[in-house]
Symmetry: D2
Subunit: 284 residues, 4 copies
């Protein structure tokens, strides 16, 4: 089925739903799904619309021009995506493979609608996993004092492949502001703790030392401030005093896996709007 | 804030959202929240709208007449509720008090928007709980061979008090079809198992014998078929081989409590539409 | 059934289990349950034993003397509790009643084995709840500049009633070090966040601002450092972008309720041993 | 670290713990971990002991003879496993790959201590996954009327490879009694529902039709009665009215994955004892 997805936000006021839905119904579009959310504290209105384009004669360009004109009159910020466009996703990894396997297996099974044109690492360790799934693997080690050059190489490669989304699947390098600003709202990171608890390094050891009774993982957009970006998805699992730091790490791997994959799915399905430090994640 | 809530359902087709939202915006209503759901398998469209009536001059009667006329042209089934109306809820109990305490405490704390004009039981055991919360308590024992009379007494009392919702908070009597049909879609029951597992009696013992690793509870609308009514809410908790039937019962009480209270809240907030054997439960 | 519960800890070494279990079996005790945990990182051994005393002629004094002598030879730290002793628990509250209701209802239903000889508050607001459950209520307001005196009054009352456990059921006063040291490992607090996230005040608002996708609550022993004491129990619930701070507070109340009640139960059942900043919580 | 694991069961009586732990301590064994469980309803005693063999001179044969003699005097049923023995696991699959990927990735990452000498299927579809992980793949289609022969081929292959555990990772064939009895308590199946709800075929569609609010998966030992074997692990996830059967299937795949992997891990770590229709699953 051909479909378009619109993500819209604007200042909240009366009549937005009627105005926008009438724009589409008066042109005989079928609205497959429409979700709205009003942030009363901030006075912002957010909307996600899925349109059926199956029997429509309209071209993308026409749709974008017509809707663009309409949006301008209402002061809507928006973006339009098309169901048949498969986003291109680059995976950045270091040495641990659990998130990598899970993402690649989900893509293979058709449960994540994207292409993975390349996997990039600062270590050669996971080349064999890339090979198994027949995905090109690029290794750019970070030499001391040459981090900026390494990032340039990565950026150049990502740009050349028209990458839509960068997923840090346990990539153990802090990205520079320049890198992050190059892909605004297009880098998803997995942090192996329930943020804002245990920001920074070694969260499982610190969780053990603190004696928490649950551990978690957090997928968030990368921003200039480390571990402070808008959160997309979190999950936790119950532990006991018997779970030593190694066991926490093992349990944590399973949480990280599913949290990152869910967050990537939400982004790829165009269900996420960023609003300051928060995300609106529309349900499917 | 004065507000109205509309629950709407109709056959699915193009343009419903625009038509309905335009009905309200053209009359200068502010839509506080609008949720829709299309059941593609059944071709049904469901909608919940919250309208701000604060600054509106319109009377209830005018709103109902105008919307009624509009709804007739589109073939909408609907009901209208008003935020300032507090539904009247009757609690039916037998001997166990955990759900009763939880519901009464939530009402006291202002977390369940309803009045409890009376508590009815087939046993005298829980009179003291009703007394604590200063709610009138009526005891109608079920004498062998006189169940129909007992039900008549209960119905008469419920009707006299204009009860909007009957909550079976561990009422250990099977209701007759006549009773159930008297309150269509207005009786909520809690079953102490994760339906459809362990329908019928003694679910905790049977769960222990079967060796399940989680137990649950289910809140559903009562229908003529026992434990087969549309499910509103379910939850589970993890158990181990060490949890004997008594421990299951104790854990189960905490699950039942929260499942029933959540289901009652969803109903009282007019977030539930019944569709055949299923419920649409809109999020808050 | 008469039973004794022993909580034991000592430096880890070979043969402890055999030595201790033989102590009991050679005296014909029936061990109902025995749990052990070795903290390999700290080299500590922890044990909980439930003994059946039903058919034993031995007095408490004899048991304590005999086991005391044996423990001295092995260098065991231990404490002995008896099933028929009902611990005395004082509840300290301020203005919110949800934890108070839940604890009192659980005691009433026989699901928390303790007595509640009194409820103490710094505000008069919850007197009516204490009255409902017929528990003596004492109100000691905190006058500016006279906090130490207020604490003295509370301590004097707690001591006079031989209180075994103090439960801060949303008591909104920071306790002095003197107070805390007066009841070492005998004060349980509920913090309305998933510690160590959102320590300190206003956690629900801060959780909303940070845009987390789950909120939680934490029950811990009170120590001199605020919100830093050993954690007994935690739990979380999933939220969405639609949950505003008021809704977080409402959801949070249900989490706080069950987390505090579970923690109090674990303590009352003598299942908790404190080890530095961590707790060993043996399962039932 | 060289270690031995003993799983023991016997009729419950006084003194078992002391007798058994003294057997080991008198021979200078270090008990790394000891767990016991008494099923009071059935009067059975269950135990799992992990012994440190690192510095012990004793051979396996000596240990087995000595403990065997001791066990005979007490009437213990037991089995002994050794940490350095890697169990051999055969995976049986049909057409869906999600459980297969998850198991193979966990083995690769060192989080499942076993060897996978072969994958067997009744369809050729998943050969490519086996190839990716370089595991031999055998395809035995089931021709109508020739199921017994197909099973013979499978059994012959399993026996030739000295398979310790057969995992039905979504193998869509009902096994004959003969097959099941050939591997008593050594076949683990994943059922895509929260048993005993939705036994038999098409559980996700039936769950949708029944309108449940959570779906689950169950890993259990295969027995002659379909979907009735002792349960090892279960888990669930919350769904809404919007989750159509396809979405349930997708969510369900993630539950099945983790439930089956956890159950296989528990078995491989010798943490499971079967007792009638129930399992004792000792925690790690």
């Amino acid at each position: 089925m051909r479909e378009a997805i619109l993500l819209i936000q604007t200042a909240d006021r009366k009549g937005l739903l009627a105005a926008i839905s009438t724009f589409f119904s008066s042109r005989s579009f079928n609205i497959l799904q429409c979700r709205q959310y009003t942030d009363l504290r901030e006075g912002r209105y957010f909307m996600r619309i899925r349109l059926d384009l199956s029997d429509m004669e309209i071209t993308r360009k026409q749709l974008e021009e017509e809707f663009g004109g309409f949006a301008a009159t209402l002061g809507l910020e928006y973006s339009i995506y098309y169901g048949e466009d498969k986003p291109k996703v680059a995976l950045l990894v270091s040495k641990t493979s659990h998130c990598l396997y899970d993402l690649l297996a989900h893509v293979r099974e058709g449960d994540l609608g994207c292409e993975i044109p390349l996997i990039i690492s600062n270590h050669p360790d996971l080349e064999h996993v890339a090979d198994m799934f027949r995905v090109p693997f690029f290794c750019f080690p970070v030499e001391p004092g040459h981090k900026a050059e390494q990032e340039e190489q990565v950026i150049e490669l990502l740009d050349r492949h028209h990458i839509d989304l960068v997923v840090l699947a346990r990539y153990m390098q802090v990205l520079s502001d320049r890198f992050i600003e190059h892909y605004p709202s297009r880098i998803i990171n997995i942090h192996h703790a329930f943020l804002p608890a245990f920001q920074g390094g070694n969260p499982y050891l610190r969780a053990w030392e603190r004696g928490v009774k649950m551990i978690g993982a957090t997928a968030h957009y990368a921003t200039a401030e480390l571990d402070e970006g808008p959160i997309i998805e979190q999950d936790v699992e119950r532990i006991t005093h018997e779970s030593d730091p190694d066991e926490l790490k093992r349990i944590g791997k399973d949480i990280e896996r599913r949290v990152l994959t869910r967050a990537v799915r939400a982004h790829l399905e165009h269900r996420v709007i960023i609003s300051g430090r928060r995300t609106i994640v529309f349900s499917r």
